[in-house]
């Protein structure tokens, strides 16, 4: 009788994967609801979407992807006994997370200056809910990255990096749906 199961094949902690799958399902349901409500007013959704800054969002994608790379490299470096490089890499990943939030803040401030709120159109209700909930995860992720840079056991770094990659993965699916599919 074999002692290994499919669950054992998952890298890292099982609980982290439960969290990753739960978050993907929550954001996935939100994006499907967004596309469902879009059916009631496709022209209005396209017009509302034209107020978004695609360039800023694409830049934020590059920022998050680069941050994810640094988090992945941190684990690689920690596993190869290069603890200092790992710590710097995690701090760099966290700083890029802050850059993401600053760009997002500028985007929100621009919407506010245009008099756009979540009540302006259903598009913006979903926009603020989904991107705001994601930004809350980025904020939490920055804290997690800094925490594992401090307590830098490889298992901690692996869990922190996995959380950060989940945040990255959510944005990769959120960006095209909210910003590009007009």
């Amino acid at each position: 009788m074999s002692g290994s199961s499919l669950i054992d094949e998952l890298p890292g902690e099982l609980l982290m994967w439960v969290l990753i799958i739960s978050e993907l399902l929550v954001f996935g349901a939100g994006l499907i609801a967004f596309m469902g409500v879009r059916l009631t007013d496709p022209t209005g959704f396209a017009e509302a979407q034209s107020h978004l800054h695609r360039t800023g969002a694409a830049l934020n994608t590059a920022v998050l992807v680069t941050s994810g790379y640094l988090a992945a490299m941190a684990l690689h470096w920690r596993q190869t006994e290069r603890g200092k490089a790992a710590r710097f890499s995690l701090i760099g990943a966290a700083l890029l997370g802050v850059v993401f939030l600053i760009i997002k803040g500028i985007e929100y401030a621009d919407k506010a200056a245009q008099g756009i709120s979540f009540e302006t159109h259903p598009f913006f209700l979903f926009y603020y809910l989904l991107t705001g909930f994601h930004a809350a995860h980025v904020l939490a992720g920055v804290g997690v990255l800094l925490l594992v840079a401090w307590h830098d056991h490889p298992r901690n770094i692996e869990a922190g990096a996995q959380f950060w990659h989940m945040v990255d993965l959510v944005w990769i699916m959120l960006f095209p749906v909210i910003y590009l599919l007009g």
């Binding site: 094949e9 499907i32 992807v65 680069t66 990769i172």
Partner: protein, 95 residues
């Protein structure tokens, strides 16, 4: 000579690091998504291309950053789920 050769070999190995290759690929796919938007192609083809690029990026993150490349069954499962999700989004977009 041997030091140079060793240095060049080390540099090449670093460049070929799968994590670095993944990062470069993700950046290239992000730029490709942005460049697609102004192209004069039918909106359904544009939506399909944008979702396809997002799927490729997601799979790269799952396989390389989340290390599911070493757990092929899980990678297939996640990929299947994401493909179903993208098909639903595309279907809703076309209606």
């Amino acid at each position: 000579m041997s030091a140079l050769s060793s240095c060049s070999k080390y540099g090449r190995r670093r460049l070929l690091n799968p994590l670095t290759r993944t990062w470069v690929a993700l950046l290239a796919l992000t730029v490709a998504s942005a460049l697609l938007i102004p192209l004069p192609i039918p909106r359904s083809a544009l939506a399909a291309a944008i979702l396809l690029l997002a799927l490729i990026k997601s799979r790269l993150i799952l396989a390389r950053y989340l290390d599911l490349a070493h757990s092929p069954a899980w990678l297939r499962g996640f990929s299947f789920g994401l493909i179903c999700f993208a098909v639903v989004l595309f279907g809703l977009y076309l209606i």
